[in-house]
């Protein structure tokens, strides 16, 4: 089922949770809504589910305007952050619930309901636990029950709110892989909310990065990482270094010193690059030069903190091969190999980079 959002806005009282935004989700896609808390990602998910009503705009399920349908009739499988299992019902009763509340005409028989619930319990790898109560299950098991319960109504869209938020690191990783499998096997259009970029990047076909009630970028994990559409995305995803620069006569300078990078336009801007995307080979008199303040081992690389100016200059962190020895006080000169310019935050209107250049 395609889900289309057209100019959706949501206000709570006088505060805007979502500014007019549009989004197309294709049938069968696995989409992550990624953003820091307060970015509006959960509100967006709840709007799609029908748990909230938009202040403006339309939500389309396929060709149908969902606004006409209350949440009960939307057939969305919603997995809540804290699972919201019915604690007075057994696991089996929880999973059967959605079928047993259908109008009499479309309700399956009791034995059929039971058969399907048991089948789903097998599917979520919890066979034999149907008689337990939610309190008797582990966090990961509850998550699976919540998913089985949502799948039982044969949802048109599967929505998950911070599905792994409340779990231990190890369980998270296992369930993440498993959710991907479930998605690939059932083919449901799946939207999940997360604040964990690793989770979003690993699991999703496409990632929707949100900030302050706006969509910053929609793209595949590669696009999001390699071509961030805004300063926010660059800073939010992965590691980044940011540096104030001036542009003039086609040259980018930091504190008056040319970096050996070229760009059009003039005026102040901010340069973004990733710590590991640098080159130590520079022409004389060019590039960023700094003294080593501290260094530490990060995975297979050595992260070095450099002071760019004599005393109170900017500090940046870059990665160099772990085999290379440095000591405090050494001077290192480098320039970014993959970088982006975004306007100064004050002039930050369109969130668009001025110029992108690969050296």
């Amino acid at each position: 089922m395609d889900v289309t959002l057209r100019k959706i806005a949501k206000e709570f009282g006088s505060t805007a949770a979502l500014h007019e935004l549009s989004l197309d989700i294709r049938s069968g896609e696995l989409i992550a809504l990624l953003g820091p808390s307060g970015s509006g990602k959960t509100t967006l998910l709840r709007l799609i589910a029908g748990l909230e009503t938009p202040s403006a705009g339309t939500v389309m399920f396929g060709e149908e305007d969902a606004a006409r349908r209350p949440v009960q009739d939307r057939r969305v499988g919603f997995v809540f952050q804290h699972y919201a299992l019915f604690r007075h019902m057994t696991v089996l009763e929880n999973v059967s619930f959605g079928l047993s509340v259908r109008p009499r005409a479309s309700r399956p028989t009791a034995s059929e309901t039971r058969r399907r619930a048991l089948e789903l319990l097998d599917f979520v790898q919890l066979p034999g636990l149907g008689g337990r109560y939610p309190a008797q299950l582990s966090g990961g098991q509850r998550q699976r029950v919540a998913l089985a319960r949502a799948l039982a109504i044969e949802p048109r869209v599967l929505l998950l709110d911070e599905p792994f938020g409340a779990l231990d690191a190890q369980v998270r990783r296992d369930l993440r892989r498993w959710l991907r499998e479930v998605h690939d096997r059932t083919g449901h259009t799946t939207i999940f909310v997360t604040h964990d970029q690793e989770e979003a990047m690993e699991l999703a076909d496409r990632v929707v990065v949100m900030s302050q009630g706006r969509i910053e970028q929609v793209g595949t994990p590669d696009e999001i990482h390699d071509a961030p559409a805004s300063a926010f995305v660059h800073g939010f995803i992965g590691e980044s270094v940011k540096l104030p620069v001036e542009i003039g006569q086609g040259i980018i300078r930091h504190a008056g010193r040319p970096l050996g990078l070229r760009a059009h336009g003039r005026g102040a801007s901010t340069l973004y690059f990733r710590p590991h995307e640098i080159s130590r080979i520079v022409s004389p008199g060019e590039g960023l030069s700094g003294t080593v303040v501290s260094y530490r081992r990060v995975g297979g690389l050595r992260r070095v903190e450099l002071a760019l100016g004599p005393d109170d200059g900017e500090r940046v962190e870059i990665d160099i091969p772990a085999g290379e020895q440095v000591s405090t006080g050494d001077t290192i000169t480098f320039r970014p190999t993959n970088w982006r310019l975004y306007p100064e935050p004050a002039a930050d209107e369109g969130h668009r980079p001025l110029e992108v250049k690969y050296a």
Partner: protein, 290 residues
């Protein structure tokens, strides 16, 4: 897909509340019930009390027997409440701050008076001190009056109000745990200093709350006191017993006048209780939950 939901009209009902008409109906039923069972009886106390004007009301309250009843009620309360405060704090300290065997049993025993009829609470003292008991004749011989005298009334009142303070404090102190006390002790405070400067400030609103409920019950207790009092006018009549006597004498205005005073007391109790809950709701949360 069925499209009958289109008939819902303009608004889609919010998923977690009832339709407006249902909400109104439920509220109406609840308010009607409360009016019929709570508000009207309360109102009738005051209308009956002032049926013959404020002068008659005042006369009924200032009559010597009424004044004696008030004095006795205050005396009994002044003994029973502090006694149960000491007990309540000690019990809560022992139960909330320590782990020991038989704790659940102890809590059940403290709650026992809640599940005993007030009349039985009085009866137990009649059996204990009455002429048929072991110590009754001995007491009578030495001229010690307990039954049908003030001591009996005090004992019966303590019995029925026994759990009130402890009941409020136990969940509150259990909720607060022992870390603050341990911190105080590790900083060199003595046990008494720890209690006075760390524990007591933490539980004071809960304590006040318990004292309030205990006082209200102590002043209003009827059944237990009725059994042990002997109903001697001007001597062993508490206010509620005085109300009964006047009522049985068909002196309704006087009965309701004294009753109105007790009702005022109840209203003060409710007001203070509500104010406490508004101001110190968070500090009392554990208490409210039990």
């Amino acid at each position: 897909m069925p499209s009958d939901t289109l008939a819902l009209g303009a608004g889609i009902p919010a998923p977690t509340t009832e339709a407006p008409w249902a909400r109104r109906a439920l509220m109406l039923a609840a308010f009607g019930f409360l009016a019929l069972f709570l508000a009207l009886p309360l109102a009738s106390v005051f209308t009956e009390a002032f049926r013959q004007g404020p002068a008659a009301w005042l006369a009924a309250l200032t009559e010597p027997d009424a004044l004696a009843a008030m004095r006795l009620t205050l005396t009994v309360t002044a003994i029973a409440v502090p006694a149960n405060v000491v007990f309540g704090v000690a019990a809560a300290w022992a139960i909330a701050k320590f782990e020991f065997r038989g704790k659940a049993l102890l809590i059940s025993l403290i709650d026992l008076p809640f599940s005993v009829s007030p009349v039985i609470s009085g009866l137990v003292y009649v059996l204990l001190f009455g002429s048929g008991s072991l110590i009754g004749p001995w007491l009578a011989h030495h001229g010690v009056e307990i039954l049908f005298a003030v001591p009996g009334i005090v004992l019966a009142t303590i019995f029925v109000t026994f759990p009130f303070v402890a009941r409020e404090l136990i969940p509150l102190m259990q909720d607060q745990g022992t870390t603050e006390e341990e911190a105080a002790l590790s900083l060199g405070a003595s046990g008494w200093q720890t209690f006075r400067r760390v524990t007591l400030p933490n539980i004071r609103w809960g304590l006040l709350y318990g004292v309030l409920l205990c006082t209200a019950r102590a002043m209003g207790e009827f059944g237990a006191v009725s059994v042990v009092s002997g109903h001697i006018r001007g001597e062993t009549n508490t206010m509620p017993l005085h109300v009964e006597i006047l009522y049985n004498e068909y002196n309704f205005v006087a009965a309701f006048a004294v009753a109105s005073l007790l009702a005022c007391l109840a209203l003060v109790t409710l007001t203070v209780k509500t104010l406490l809950e508004i101001r110190y709701g968070a500090a009392l949360a554990a208490t409210r939950k039990h």
